[in-house]
Amino acid sequence: MPTPLRAGLVLLALASPALAQQISLNFGSGGANLTTFPFNQEDCNSNVSYTVAWTATGLGSGNACSNMQIFVTNSQSCPSAPTVTSTDGGTADVIIGTVDINTLATGSGSVQPRRLRDMPGLGGSCPDGEDVTNAICASLPYRATGSTDCNGTPLGSSTTLNLRYDAKPPVPPVMTLLGQDAKIVVQLDPQGETLLRYEIQYAEAPSNDAGPIWKPPSPLTLEATKSSFQITGLTNAVEYLVRAQSIDEVSNPSGYNDPQSATPQASNGFWGEYKDAGGHELGGCSVADAAVPTVFGALGVLVALARRRR
């Protein structure tokens, strides 16, 4: 066997078992594709829980040294093993599941549901205005390929899951208004955070000290993937106030921004200018109906000639 081919086979043989040993975590049914589980203060106070499912490949009594631990750490990344006692005034990691070697060999499973508020960054409370992210990790002492002891770095999860407690309101959007013909175009610019939607309200500018009457009562909504919204059906030459707020991905509202004013103004496009200049055109399909069959007849002749050629 040629030397390069032999070397390649050896490398392949060494690499394959290493690639085969793997642990991965996900949020179980309903969130298997999520890597971050965001929740708001209401979810926290309502004791909403989450479930973590695991899968293990190439692991069992032959190479696992002890039980696999699944834990939540007060950080956005995973350590190699859970910290059971708190250090530096921090919070100890919370072990949410232990998988014994025999169960590990079955390849998959899930841990008992856990309350979101019990993640170490919250410590059982649901504080105002906080934005805390914790990572969900796995740790398994194991004998790596080619090793006979368990002193190496424990095997961790190939995917890092995050729990994100978000009680911090987003920043209101930056807003620009364009007064157009019987409408106002509202252009919104998000400020930093990932948003779910915007909510928009408008009112006629009050002529006295009474506050504006905002409408509609249920705000107009605009998906955050879009940045422009048209408020239509307005009266030209009347001043309107418009305000908007951002709603983040866990439905925290930013609160409305300072209202801005705009005045719809009548305008002429080409058609309006044409009619104002005395144009006689009425639009629609006009005379020369005889030309219609002529055109289609000519097309028919063309097609027939083409077929005859074949």
Partner: protein, 245 residues
């Protein structure tokens, strides 16, 4: 002795070469029928102001009389090929022009100024042309120029938008269909002359017998055959690339 043999061999080779030249087949005759496909573009200004009774030219007011960009394609069937070629075809195109709408207010300082809204005139010119191409210069004398003329029936759907939707004034929608007729005169330059071998290969591989570029002048009368209304007539040049197969 060796010199005599060499001379004899040379003479024989020359004679052989002459024989080969004499055996080269003549170019194949032009097929009696075929197709042409053309892609073209140009700019045009519709003669909206030609409509009788207008107090001003709205195209000039809104679009400052700037040209619309036109692009289109045409396919023709060569129905007869003798002394020149007669064809009938179908062409479709698209042209548009965008500009700000203008404000209409009681305030003299803002009245007539540009709005933040855009307005557009969009047309879809369709035509059924009958043409005559004087390609004898090329087929008989290998002069790579083909003058041609066409007469066409025109049908042009049109639409005016403001703020992205069809503009409506007094419940009249700014969209419709205009009919008319047109004449075209042009000149094609046969690109086969630049590389005869490449042209032959293309014929063998794709069936395209000629490739040409062309320039033409269009006289379009698009006013519903003289009816008073929106006049989309235009006189303009187009340029393009064509294939005959």
């Amino acid at each position: 002795m060796r010199g005599v043999a060499l001379a004899a061999l040379l003479a024989a080779s020359t004679a052989l070469a002459q024989t080969v030249v004499q055996l080269k087949p003549p170019p194949p005759p032009e097929p009696p029928i075929g197709f042409m496909f053309e892609l073209k573009m140009g700019t045009l200004i519709p003669r909206v102001g030609d409509e009788p009774g207008l107090s001003s030219n709205p195209y000039e007011t809104i679009f400052a009389n700037k040209s619309m960009l036109f692009g289109g394609g045409e396919i023709d069937f060569i129905a007869w090929h003798g002394y020149g070629a007669v064809s009938v075809g179908f062409a479709a195109g698209y042209a548009e022009k965008y500009a700000p709408a203008i404000l209409v207010t009681d305030d003299p300082t803002t009245n007539g100024t540009a709005s933040t809204e855009k307005t557009a005139l969009i047309i879809f010119p369709l035509r059924v042309p009958v043409g005559y191409r004087f390609d004898v210069l090329w087929t008989r004398y290998r002069i790579p120029f083909v003058p041609y003329v066409k007469a066409a029936l025109l049908m042009t759907p049109w639409r005016v938008t403001k703020g992205g939707t069809t503009e409506v004034v007094n419940n009249q929608s700014g969209a419709g269909l205009k009919w008319g007729y047109g004449f075209t005169g042009g000149m094609a330059f046969i690109l086969n002359i630049l590389s005869e071998q490449m042209a032959k290969d293309m014929t063998t591989d794709t069936g395209i017998r000629r490739t040409y570029i062309f320039a033409e002048y269009n006289y379009d009368k698009l006013d519903d055959f003289g009816k008073v209304g929106l006049n989309l007539s235009a006189r303009y040049f187009t340029f393009g690339l064509g294939f005959e197969f």
